[in-house]
């Protein structure tokens, strides 16, 4: 292993080649991960900017900042960009891409060129989406509900549909690459029972990518055909059923929530044992819970349609199944908590994000129980209660996990440490800003404020003002890490190969890793998370 003193001259994946071609034509999974990191961050800030405009409009009950049609486009594009171009690819395409081969001791993903292709597909979809945004936008809501999207909206539905369709292939190829890599490329000794939980969760995510995304692809394609060629599959004027669209759409789009949250759970399952210096409590239960969530997650889609005109009996079935998927999520929360018991807990930045994740995900999950309960769902569905709930899962859960993971693996990715003090501050700001933004929305929702309204009765104003105030704090919290990550690339302390003394294979190669990851193929002889066999260096032990 190279020591820190040598790492200046040592060749690694970042300094092996320079120049734009060496990046745009790279097949190195680590470089592709960085390409994704840059492009995803870009879309995150666009989506975030749209969110801030939405919150500003909602500061007052009157519709005074933007016109109604502009507002409709704002929330539509916010949803589509954030979901398809940020949340879904975020952890898998950045951290997954970087870490899957490293964690199993492989030189690269199984299909490096396909991996690059999926980034290009992502960019094609992204640029098309951006073009849609800049030349008029879409106003259908991110859900594209028919017949509004097929027969009534006069905005760029086809273009947005095609953008998401192309982006879908990027997801499918990423998932395919992960599954093949995990099956075929493991280093000797890396059995499935020794796989880090990060990989179990990515395996589960890939299953959803592979089996869910194509259904969304064909559904959006049918909507595009319906607009472009007059096919009438969802058209009620020709006896078509708009609910069929909703079934097909949610068949993917509900499991898509698990695409966002499962990788985050994987990140937390790495961070919590590392900063508690303990084996994970109940490894096999946490691993199987990931697979369980991926499978049961496909059985619950129509709980988005309880008031949509579905049959009463189908509603009962879907409500029942929805409660089943809550069990594996609960198992995970309990296991993370139990892992801390009798540990040696450090409050480093990644751990703070993990605390935040567990807290916010717990609240998101519990409010999910409200929405799965038929009687209550009728009242709160399509209100701000739903908005708050899924933001707790998708922003409180997924983004907290993403940021936690970015901090945890940043030394490995960049070879530099980020400033710890700023890191903790940002984690705190994000947590406070997030709760201030979205907690009031639970109350708003139960009071009956429907989603997607640009004007609202004045009695809702107090809570909306709180929410808007929170969103500005949240924005600061998201900007901070970007600034100090960039800063650290030049001025950060040089990182050790294993700054956290973590057990994973990715920490047993240099920081940043060489192009083919390992000097020689590692032989794995230990279980995951053997923190009892890992001693802490003096400086880490003395911290706090």
């Amino acid at each position: 292993m190279a020591t820190a003193a040598f790492s200046h001259e040592r060749e690694h994946y970042l300094n092996k080649e320079y120049g734009i071609r060496s990046w745009l034509l790279t097949t190195d999974h680590k470089r592709i991960a960085l390409l994704y990191l840059v492009s995803i961050t870009f879309f995150f800030f666009i989506g975030g900017f749209l969110a801030l405009l939405i919150r500003l409009e909602l500061l007052t009950p009157a519709g005074d900042l933007v016109q109604a049609d502009t507002y409709n486009k704002l929330f539509t594009m916010h949803g589509q960009i954030m979901i398809f171009f940020f949340l879904i690819p975020s952890i898998p395409a950045v951290l997954g891409n970087f870490l899957v081969p490293l964690m199993i001791g492989a030189k690269d993903l199984a299909f490096p060129r396909i991996n690059l292709l999926s980034w290009y597909l992502y960019m094609c979809g992204g640029i098309l989406m951006l073009h849609t945004l800049l030349t008029g936008g879409v106003d259908t809501g991110w859900t594209f509900y028919t017949p509004f999207s097929t027969a009534f909206s006069d905005t760029k539905v086809i273009e947005a549909g095609v953008a998401i369709f192309i982006n879908g292939f990027s997801s499918i190829l990423t998932g395919l690459n992960f599954v093949v890599t995990i099956h075929r490329m493991r280093a000797p000794g890396m059995t499935f029972s020794r796989l880090p939980l990060f990989l179990w969760s990515h395996y589960a995510t890939s299953i959803i990518f592979l089996l869910g995304t194509p259904v969304l692809a064909i559904t959006l394609l049918l909507v595009v055909f319906e607009r472009a060629f007059n096919l009438g599959i969802f058209d009620p004027n020709r006896g078509g059923d708009p609910l069929l669209f909703q079934h097909l759409f949610w068949f993917y789009s509900h499991p898509a929530v698990y695409i966002m949250i499962l990788p985050s759970m994987g990140v937390v399952s790495e961070i919590v044992p590392c900063f508690s210096r303990k084996r994970i409590f109940g490894y096999s239960f946490v691993a199987m819970a990931s697979i369980g969530i991926a499978v049961i997650g496909f059985l619950v889609w129509a709980h988005h349609m309880f008031v949509a005109g579905m049959s009463l009996y189908a509603a009962l079935i879907f409500s029942f199944l929805s409660y089943l998927v809550a069990v594996p999520s609960a198992i995970k929360v309990f296991n993370w908590t139990a892992t801390m018991y009798k540990g040696s807990i450090s409050f480093s930045t990644p751990m703070l994000y993990a605390f935040g994740f567990i807290g916010l995900f717990t609240m998101g999950g519990l409010t999910g129980l409200f929405l799965a309960a038929l009687g209550v769902d009728v009242h709160v569905t399509d209100t701000y209660f739903v908005i708050a709930h899924f933001h707790y899962i998708m922003v409180g859960g997924a983004v907290m996990g993403y940021l936690g993971g970015m901090h945890f693996w940043w030394p490995k990715i960049s070879g530099r440490m980020y400033p710890e003090g700023w890191g903790r501050l940002a984690a705190l700001i994000v947590f406070i800003g997030f709760n201030l933004t979205f907690f009031p929305q639970f109350i708003l929702g139960y009071l009956g404020m429907p989603r997607r309204y640009w004007q609202y009765p004045p009695e809702f104003q107090v809570l909306n003002v709180l929410s808007t105030a929170g969103s500005t704090i949240l924005a600061v919290g998201y900007l901070l890490p970007m600034v100090y990550f960039l800063w650290s690339m030049r001025y950060g302390k040089i990182a050790d190969d294993n700054p956290w003394n973590a057990t994973g294979l990715e920490w047993r190669t240099a920081s940043p890793p060489p192009t083919y990851n390992f000097e020689e193929t590692p032989l794995v002889t230990w279980e995951a998370y053997e923190y009892d066999k890992m001693t802490l260096p003096a400086e880490v032990t003395l911290e706090r």
Binding site: K107, L231, G232, I233, G239, L244
Partner: protein, 230 residues
């Protein structure tokens, strides 16, 4: 490591990140199978729509289905089955290292594929002539079976044709992609790239072709064979 795989390690086809040819081959084959899994779900969305509407508008679907030509559908099925045979034989020829035979069989496959597309195109043209293309010019003037006085609802027949065009269109698109893949394979075979040790592309391309064939094996009865006895 066995002797044979040490020899294999020097083959130029082995990509740097794989340990040996065996691993590379297995990865490629698993990748293709997974992709075919996603394809099942891709067509599955349309099969779902088909199932729902067929149950809802059974009579209209039956009448509309009977306007499709059974002989043409049967012939096209046979054409695709022949192409699957030539694909399977070409993989075998590649395994045995018969390079010329591989080229001949791949070309035959390509021709069968083009024949299928040609026949399909002829059928589509017929639909155009008969105003069975969904949209404003759609017209469908048929009576309910057994009730000559009762016309069937043309809007529901239109749903059948919407699904017909979506399903056969998506299938044809897959055929066109398949033809492209096979053109590349022919080029590779022409350059003598395939040996008994390395012919993964033929195998993988073959898997794709067979899958597209299987989709048609289902589309044929679902679209052409509703209530044919009346």
């Amino acid at each position: 490591m066995s002797d044979s795989s040490v020899a294999v390690e020097h083959t130029p086809e082995l990509r740097h990140h794989f340990a040996d040819m065996e691993q590379q081959r297995n990865a490629a084959s698993l990748g293709m199978w997974l992709f075919l899994g996603t394809e099942i779900m891709f067509f599955g969305g349309m099969f779902c729509a088909y199932l729902i509407y067929r149950l809802a508008y059974y009579n209209e679907f039956a009448v509309a289905s009977r306007t499709l030509s059974l002989p043409i559908g049967t012939i096209n099925t046979a054409v695709l089955i022949c192409s699957s045979l030539t694909v399977a034989l070409s993989v075998r020829a590649a395994q045995l290292g018969k390079q010329k035979l591989v080229i001949v069989l791949l070309v035959l496959t390509l021709l069968f594929g083009l024949a299928f597309l040609g026949i399909k195109g002829y059928e589509w043209r017929e639909k155009f002539v008969e105003h069975h293309i969904p949209g404003s010019s759609f017209s469908f003037d048929e009576a309910m079976p057994g009730h000559p006085e009762a016309k069937i609802d043309p809007r529901h027949a239109q749903i059948f044709f919407s699904l017909y065009f979506a399903m056969t269109g998506m299938h044809a698109l897959h055929m066109i992609i398949g033809v492209g893949i096979f053109a590349v394979l022919i080029l590779m075979a022409w350059r003598g790239r395939f040996t008994p040790e390395y012919h993964t592309p033929v195998e993988i391309g073959g898997l794709y072709w067979h899958f597209v064939d299987i989709v048609w094996i289902y589309l044929f009865p679902l679209l052409y064979l509703i209530d044919r006895h009346k």
